[in-house]
């Protein structure tokens, strides 16, 4: 299974994530921030379905990661997985805190990114996907968020969730199958 590297938008500097032996912890953290800021936000926003809360949780996650940057142990996984683990805990804490309000939380806002000139077929498909996404449970939605919005590889996803890589792949496949069936039914 292939992984992929992404970079947060609007980040001008171009340091790589992989540090050399002499790179200090701050430089490593800064590089991690540049590559993962938008991914972490996307993951948290999909999980919480609340952009404002997602911003707070994302900020808190990076601040915690900064405070704990010296405790990072590469032998226990890559930095992205470590960062998403911190973000996940912060997001789940937020969910716990807002449990009574969870029922009132709305679907993600329309970000207005929908292409203006896409065809009707694509628009229908997009609507079907959104509907199917809204029908997913929080756990399933988290899989989608980690995989497609956080940009994690299956190995990183497995480390964040605490399962094996093959199990993580199976979880992704099941969610995709569920979404595909839901989209087809909608169509």
């Amino acid at each position: 299974m292939k992984g992929r590297a992404r970079r947060s938008e609007d980040v001008t500097e171009t340091e790589t994530l992989a540090p050399g032996p002499a790179t200090d912890s701050w430089t490593r953290f800064e590089a991690l921030y540049r590559t993962a800021r938008d991914d972490v936000y996307s993951y948290v926003a999909t999980l919480l379905r609340d952009p404002a809360a997602a911003e707070d949780v994302t900020a808190l996650a990076f601040e915690r990661a900064y405070r704990r940057r010296r405790t990072f142990d590469r032998r226990r996984g890559e930095e992205r997985a470590w960062l998403f683990g911190i973000a996940r805990n912060a997001a789940l804490d937020e969910l716990r805190r807002r449990r009574r309000l969870a029922a009132l939380v709305a679907d993600p806002e329309d970000t207005g990114l929908e292409p203006a000139e896409e065809g009707a077929e694509v628009a229908l498909r997009r609507t079907a996907v959104r509907t199917a996404l809204g029908a997913l449970s929080a756990r399933e939605r988290e899989i989608v968020a980690l995989k497609f919005h956080g940009g994690l590889s299956n190995g990183e996803l497995a480390r964040v969730l605490g399962v094996s890589e093959s199990n993580a792949g199976t979880l992704v496949f099941r969610v995709m199958e569920k979404l595909r069936k839901a989209c087809n039914e909608t169509a």
């Binding site: 299974m1 609007d10 911003e55 707070d56 808190l60 959104r130 497609f148 995709m176």
Partner: protein, 413 residues
């Protein structure tokens, strides 16, 4: 979320996952996975993006290294500020130091108590230092009376609790109890019970012979049984010059590799007996002299025979009194000493401070300090290890509980 078994992934599923990854990476995929690829792209397009304002704010906070940026109020609660962390760190460190001080004080007090107990119960040790050695020492004197002094080790101590087989004898010498030197005739005797390491009984016995020989004493009888075990023993019947009895007894009590288990000094005043024997001898000699005078003047056979008979009786009495006097002198001049050596463990000597600072004393103190420090460390470990285990257990339980609550929050979301 149910944790799945870590079984090998199905090839078909793996192919689908590869297609998804390829799609997200912008690579072509197999046409049979076109629907999946389209779905993956649509999902990726649904990705929420942060606002420009948020991105700028985050960049600024990171540039400040979160220095002046407090955590969001809605999500705060898990972290401590630096002063709080410092406060708790200092509190924990202070508590640990206080606990250590308490342990040291308690150990110190226990240690001093043990020391005083051991000094009073240690065998012999310096035995007859008045009453401090725990020895029962009594003495009485008077005409025709007898006196005795004894120093004995406690039975517990005589078993050699410390197990030092090479105990230095220098401190185990007993002080001799001698009758006053006022010219009276006194018969002295002593009993000395020594303990030596099982493999040192014969060497200690040899030392006894050496000391007795040096002192001009006599070994009336001896029996040495060397087995190498705890049943080894030696016994001696000695006669030692009374004039140097105290000195010799001190040397016998001071034998290398042995320690005094008990010592008994006896004395009997025989002055009256001695004087009466002397008087009887003098009377008999006077009578003999008178009889010889009368015999020289005797004229009849009957008178001569009677005087000779009386003279014979007088001479017999003189011989008897002289023998009695020699016996008394022998007893007075040579004291009988019964010495027994039993195999056993010798106790560690108590080094009585000589008042000066010596290397040996310093080494002793240093070793004592090390022993106490090791003891303190051991007790601290005994206290801290269970506490650490309990703390680790609590931390693990808290972690598990928090994790379960988090997962539950995801389930009910």
């Amino acid at each position: 979320m149910r944790r799945l078994d870590d079984t090998p992934i199905d090839p078909e599923i793996e192919a689908c996952l590869d297609a998804i990854d390829a799609t997200l990476a912008g690579e072509p995929v197999d046409p049979r996975h076109a629907e999946l690829a389209e779905l993956a792209l649509l999902l990726a397009d649904e990705r929420p993006r942060p606002s420009a304002a948020f991105a700028a704010e985050m960049d600024a906070r990171v540039a400040r290294r979160f220095a002046a940026a407090p955590a969001p109020a809605s999500s705060r609660g898990g972290g401590w500020t630096r002063p709080q962390r410092m406060f708790w760190s200092l509190g924990v460190a202070g508590g640990f130091v206080a606990a250590l001080v308490v342990v040291v004080v308690v150990i110190g007090s226990l240690g001093s108590g043990t020391s005083s107990m051991s000094s009073s119960s240690l065998p012999t040790l310096g035995p007859v230092h008045g009453a401090s050695a725990g020895a029962a020492s009594t003495s009485s004197s008077g005409s025709g009376g007898s006196s005795s002094g004894s120093a004995s080790a406690s039975s517990a101590a005589s078993s050699g609790e410390s197990g030092n087989l090479d105990a230095s004898p220098s401190s185990t010498a007993t002080r001799s109890v001698a009758p006053p030197a006022n010219g009276r005739k006194v018969v002295q005797s002593a009993e000395l019970d020594l303990s030596a390491a099982p493999n040192r009984v014969d060497s200690v016995a040899q030392e006894v012979f050496n000391v007795v020989g040096t002192a001009g004493g006599i070994v009336d009888s001896s029996q040495v049984t060397q087995t190498g075990g705890l049943d080894g023993s030696a016994s001696f019947q000695l006669r030692l010059p009374s004039a140097s009895l105290g000195q010799t007894m001190s040397r016998l009590s001071d034998l290398p590799g042995a320690r005094v288990v008990s010592r008994t000094d006896n004395s009997t005043d025989v002055n009256a007996t001695y004087l009466s024997t002397q008087h009887a001898l003098a009377d008999a000699q006077t009578l003999r002299k008178a009889l010889l005078g009368r015999l020289a003047a005797a004229t009849t056979t009957t008178e001569i025979d009677s005087l000779k008979q009386q003279l014979s009786d007088a001479e017999s009495k003189i011989s008897a009194e002289q023998a009695a006097l020699r016996g008394l002198n022998s007893k007075i001049n040579y004291s009988r000493v019964t010495l027994v050596i039993n195999a056993g463990q010798t106790a560690a000597p108590v080094h009585h401070s000589s008042g000066g600072f010596t290397i040996g004393h310093a080494a002793h103190v240093a070793s004592r300090v090390l022993v106490v420090a090791a003891g303190v460390g051991l007790i601290a470990l005994a206290v801290l290890v269970p506490l650490a285990l309990v703390a680790a257990l609590l931390a693990w339980a808290a972690y598990s509980l928090r994790r379960r609550r988090r997962e539950h929050a995801l389930d009910v979301a």
